[in-house]
């Protein structure tokens, strides 16, 4: 399990233990990864986040077009594994959760503990004020050299 900020870890850990989910990905509504469990390659996580955010955004637009409020969750039932995609508000903006689970658990259990995680995240975020982003002083200085090395020109 990897989380962008430490306060996300405990609620996510509880969710994973209770729900028996195979893969879990929390992302911002623009598709940036906040936390993940179960992915072995970071580049695959980014792809899943981009697709998850795309689905989330398009279903929200669809709901808006049909004059309803947001859809709370979207569930894809598969033969071997299923997937839950749900958006939720946090004090740090709107996030989306993508959960992949198998027959060892159920959509009811996943949804139940997902909602519990959302509540725990909300209270954990309030306790943990966001720190200002601070990069090393030499970051900009090293940037030119790094870009030259990375792009080889």
């Amino acid at each position: 399990m990897r989380a962008l900020e430490p306060w996300v870890e405990a609620p996510l850990q509880t969710f994973l233990a209770e729900s028996s989910a195979r893969l879990t990905l929390l992302m911002t509504s623009s598709g940036q990864v906040v936390a993940q469990h179960g992915f072995s390659r970071s580049l695959d996580v980014m792809t899943a986040a981009a697709l998850g955010a795309g689905i989330g955004a398009s279903t929200e637009e669809l709901a808006r077009l049909m004059g309803s409020s947001r859809f709370e969750a979207l569930v894809h039932h598969g033969a071997r594994q299923s997937c839950l995609l749900a958006g939720f508000g946090t004090p740090r903006g709107r996030w989306i959760g993508l959960v992949v689970f198998g027959p060892e658990t159920s959509v009811g259990i996943v949804q139940l503990f997902f909602d519990q995680m959302v509540q725990q995240l909300a209270s954990a975020a309030r306790r943990d004020e966001p720190a200002a982003v601070r990069l090393p002083e030499n970051f900009e200085h090293e940037l030119d050299a790094s870009l030259k090395a990375l792009f080889g020109r």
């Binding site: 027959p103 658990t105 159920s106 959509v107 009811g108 259990i109 949804q111 139940l112």
Partner: protein, 115 residues
């Protein structure tokens, strides 16, 4: 009144029963419910569905048939679960002083009618 509502009506008439619901066992989702205030039907459906699934797998692993009735006794009451045909489960949330014997009879009878 639908068949599901009729079943729930019979179960909730038993003294001490605080609510009854029918859920899909595999999904753990509520199909129909009749609950008193303060009873979380969604949680009961999800957890009871999961419990029955696990018990069935355990029984199967031990070479036994799936349980026909489950009573989960807690400090302030019990959760009763009767697996039904069509992958449904009938769940009752009962108080500590409830007539569990009568509730069990009603649930087993009602469960057999749910098809």
């Amino acid at each position: 009144m639908t068949a599901a509502q009729a079943v729930l009506d019979r179960v909730t008439r038993v003294p001490g029963v605080r609510g009854a619901l029918i859920a899909s066992a595999e999904d753990g989702l509520v199909v129909a419910e009749q609950l008193m205030d303060g009873v979380d039907g969604r949680a009961a459906a999800a957890l009871a569905g999961s419990l029955v699934g696990r018990l069935a797998r355990t029984a199967d692993g031990a070479g036994r048939r799936a349980p026909a009735f489950v009573q989960l006794r807690a400090e302030r009451g019990s959760i009763l679960v009767a697996p039904c045909p069509k992958d449904l489960v009938l769940i009752a949330v009962v108080a500590a002083d409830a007539n569990v014997g009568l509730a069990r009879l009603e649930m087993l009878d009602a469960a057999s009618r749910l098809h």
